[in-house]
Symmetry: C2
Subunit: 227 residues, 2 copies
């Protein structure tokens, strides 16, 4: 065969690499869920054998660590252009979009305590925008904790919504609301029927509302000094 990539081997398959292992793992997790990401299924997906993977990663846990970092690398690094508020707004949306694509990453976050390179770069860029905008170190820590708590928490709630998938909300929620109608959960029933099940309601729309509240508050921090 003529100009075959240097990264191929005598057999048909492209040569393995750490990057290929990780990107295949990411795709597999997205497609079948993190629970279906096994060394064997990963090997299958790559057309290789389980033990070959271990030449590129120490163990599965290292794959999971790296996946989280890979997910972070998909988040657009915030910049100063347009002002800090615009930068933080766009970053928030980027984080949420990424975590929606890879919801399993949220669950992974809880157990992974050593940030990877992309994660560090991401934090560095975000801190930079805040500091250069005039937030003191102290206010920056307050602002960052507040923003990220909100963003991660929102993503977590979205992931845990009783209705995930593209079915109309009403269909999936119907039986659940049935349970409410016996009067045991009047407020849940109310908010379900009068709001969540109304045509056009989309939990995702709540994101901007809360985000605005937070950004508005931060705005006040720059001129005045509550920290």
């Amino acid at each position: 065969m003529s100009a075959e990539s240097a990264r191929s081997t005598t057999r048909g398959r492209a040569r393995l690499s750490r990057e290929r292992v990780l990107s295949s793992a990411l795709i597999l997790a997205d497609e079948s869920g993190i629970g279906s990401l096994t060394i064997r299924s990963l090997a299958d997906a790559m057309g290789t054998r389980p033990m070959s993977i271990y030449h590129y990663v120490a163990n599965k846990d290292e794959i999971l660590d790296s996946l989280v970092d890979l997910v972070f690398s998909e988040i657009d690094l915030p910049s100063d252009v347009g002002g800090w508020r615009s930068g933080m707004y766009r970053r928030a949306h980027s984080v949420r979009a990424v975590l929606r694509r890879h919801t399993w990453a949220i669950g992974l976050l809880e157990s992974r305590t050593s940030p990877g390179g992309a994660t560090l770069r991401h934090h560095e860029a975000t801190l930079g925008v805040l500091r250069r905008a005039g937030f003191s170190v102290k206010l920056t820590s307050h602002a960052y904790a507040l923003l990220d708590s909100y963003i991660y928490g929102f993503a977590l709630q979205e992931a845990a919504l009783p209705l995930n998938g593209s079915e109309p909300v009403a269909q999936v929620a119907e039986p659940m609301v049935q349970q409410f109608s016996d009067g045991r959960y009047p407020y849940l029933y109310e908010i379900a029927t009068e709001r969540v099940l109304q045509p056009g309601y989309n939990f995702g729309d709540e994101f901007d509302i809360g985000l605005k509240v937070i950004l508005d508050s931060l705005e006040g921090w720059i001129s005045h000094r509550p920290g």
Copy 2:
């Protein structure tokens, strides 16, 4: 032996029950991490055999679902006394305290989409406080999404802190900060040295600051009408 509990059997062990299975599972998860919660280890902890457990639960996934609900049941139900703000403040702290005791529950949340009874009761009570305080249905949904996003997200960040355990923060973070000092992460270095590593700094203290911001904003929603 004389007055032995009715819930015991000829052999020494207390009789099994769904409750005992679940509370043992909770303890085991707290003590050894959710990863060490296996049917066999659970059976060991209860002095029984693996397959006996399956008389009380359908499968392990049902245990995990129930554990999440059990965790929710530990959260103090909010009440109206002292006003909605006080109720929401105390609820927020109760949720955080519970999730700190059972950090593994945060990771579980992402994958569990059918709320249990305690979870429903908790939501019901919280919605009630907000509605009775005068928040419209719409504003209540905004407020609840905002509050819970913040609380869960904060708990998630706490769980993912590179430093967990009682060691002095500085000790654990030293090598990490070393990595920053080469100038690649100036802002991370700055915030680490000037803030996070300062004696007395405690990430948990950030909780009240963000919570106050949110509650202050909600306060404005009752009199005026941004929803």
